[in-house]
Symmetry: C2
Subunit: 199 residues, 2 copies
């Protein structure tokens, strides 16, 4: 069966543990790759251009927007983020499931552009737990923590268009849920109807 | 989290290996139970009333239809089959995922009555493989085999309203797929949106 991959969109507030859940879930899966986003923000210590992000300047970012080279894009805390369309489409054609870790506003653009994408929102057990996690990370000022919490509250209200909601209360459970959702997406009827017709 | 269960509908042609796939998939799951259907057909050797089916006569069957006591019902090879509504609703309330193994025409009734049900169609790798499996089962006459194959062809064409299509080419893969679909259903956004509002 020559199949295309599925686009898997994952969102959730900063500090919810997305990366940890995702990395645990895709351990050992050879059919999943990450999309690498472009961003105009400065690299953090340890980040490598082309690995965490493609770090680009605002001029190039706006050029990509104008040329429709981004599947989605968003501005967040005054920086631009976007997903290169060509990269995603090529990987899907190769049969890879492509993971997008993006904000709610970007996810909404993907929902409109690719309705067949699988959209997953990862939420904390409570806002108090999220606040604890943000503080213990120790990378943000008080103001940045407050801003991220307010942003999280807003995202919860805007998240109704997602297909799945995973509560990251227990890492194993959350990772198992994500793995199952990716596996289930592989068997969606709409993606296999053409195959059935051949019978 | 006080959650209701999900209704999981499984269909597929006679001989496709539904029972084997299902039993393998739910091994060790304590959150899944089968719905027990009523039927007017005679018990096969080894079948126990209340286990494989509730065996009822046609008078009682039609009474249940008239009183709307069946979530869905169908006539197949001149026998009546139906799903007792009260049983399913009680189990869902208790938080159990309820599995329904029913025909396509019954599944369509469930889709209309309970749009949130998860609908899975299990298909053979090919009609030739299905024919082999039916013959090797040795329980059907030539005419019955031909009738089941024709029925299968027809079902393939009517199956477009299912959510998932599992091709039972390899038992382990098919069972893993079903397990993932049941697990994924647990995390659907629509079932958890109320929880998110509390944040």
């Amino acid at each position: 069966m020559n199949e295309t991959g599925r686009l898997i969109v994952i969102s959730g507030p900063s500090g919810v543990g997305k990366s940890t859940v995702v990395n645990r879930a895709i351990e050992g899966r050879t059919d999943v790759c990450f999309s690498t986003s472009v961003t105009t923000r400065a690299p953090r210590p340890g980040e490598v251009d082309g690995r965490e992000y493609f770090f680009i300047d605002r001029t190039r970012f706006h050029e990509m927007v104008e040329r429709d080279e981004l599947l989605e894009y968003a501005e967040y805390v005054s920086n631009g983020y976007g997903t290169p369309r060509a990269f995603v489409e090529q990987k899907l054609k190769e049969g890879m499931n492509v993971l997008l870790d993006i904000e709610v506003q970007g996810a909404r653009q993907v929902r409109a552009a690719m309705p067949e994408a699988v959209m997953i929102f990862i939420a904390p057990p409570s806002l108090e737990v999220l606040e604890q996690r943000l503080r213990s990370r120790g990378t943000d000022t008080e103001e940045a923590v407050a801003s991220r919490l307010e942003r999280a509250r807003q995202e919860f209200h805007e998240a109704e268009f997602y297909d799945y909601l995973i509560v990251n209360e227990d890492l194993d459970n959350a990772a198992h849920a994500l793995d199952a959702i990716i596996e289930a997406a592989h068997w969606r009827f709409s993606d296999r109807a053409a195959w059935l017709k051949k019978l």
